[in-house]
């Protein structure tokens, strides 16, 4: 992994059209600005991993595990 030291206000350029800016550092928190083409998805890693895990869990469901109709519905 490439490791670069940056100060607030400094930037890193990835390729031709992605710019990552260190906006602010406060204690343990860094605020990062990302300018990237809008077709490029940008996710916080933990959210991306969580959604991936839920998708994969759903994809492993066996049809026989599901009840034919829900035993309870909202408002009952």
């Amino acid at each position: 992994m490439l490791i670069i030291t940056r100060r607030p206000g400094e930037r890193i350029v990835l390729g031709d059209d992605i710019v990552v800016t260190v906006m602010e550092i406060s204690g343990q928190t860094a605020r990062i600005g990302i300018a990237a083409p809008k077709e490029l998805p940008v996710y916080r890693e933990e959210i991306w991993e969580a959604v991936k895990a839920e998708n994969q869990a759903a994809a492993s469901v066996d049809p026989s595990a599901l009840p034919p109709v829900p035993p309870v519905t909202p408002g009952e």
Binding site: V51, L66, V69, P70, P71, P74
Partner: protein, 153 residues
């Protein structure tokens, strides 16, 4: 011309050409971009998003409004713009919003992912992050059963 899937779960399924759903950005963690919806019965609470490319890939979906009375879907403006979906398209009558279902041995442990619903807009599918604060990643699907189980424990 219809195509067929030899589903590992459901056997042979005929898929009409207009019922194919393209997921231009796929689904995180799953390797397919073409799906269709398969329902086992008309009034079934679950439908299956079945891959047209992988006969073993299918995931159960639920209509969040059927299970979660207070369900709110607030996609981020930037994400809608990135995907080329407008608000009107999202609100269109033929747009469907689903959530993925995680099954378990006990019904009270079933959950749905309200954090990343799947929107089917004009024949294309997208999984969108839900910004609504109450949108849980693993919301108990049978909340009353879960509450009862907790009380009994």
């Amino acid at each position: 011309m219809s195509t067929t899937i030899d589903s590992t779960r459901f056997g042979r399924i005929e898929v009409a050409p207009d019922s194919a759903i393209a997921f231009p950005h796929g689904l995180t963690g799953l390797d397919s971009r073409r799906f269709t919806l398969v329902a086992r019965a008309e009034d079934d609470a679950f439908v299956w998003l079945h891959s047209l490319e992988d006969p073993a890939l299918a995931l159960p979906l639920a209509d969040p409004r059927r299970f979660f009375a207070g369900f709110v879907f607030e996609p981020a403006e930037g994400e809608l713009e990135r995907l080329g979906i407008d608000r009107a398209g999202l609100a269109a009558s033929d747009t469907a919003i689903y959530v993925t279902v995680r099954a378990s041995e006990r019904l009270e442990d079933f959950t749905a992912n309200l954090r990343a619903p799947i929107a089917i807009v004009g024949g294309a599918g997208y999984q969108l992050l839900n910004q609504a604060p109450a949108a849980e990643l693993r919301a108990p699907l049978f909340a009353e059963l879960a509450a009862a189980a907790e009380q009994a424990a």
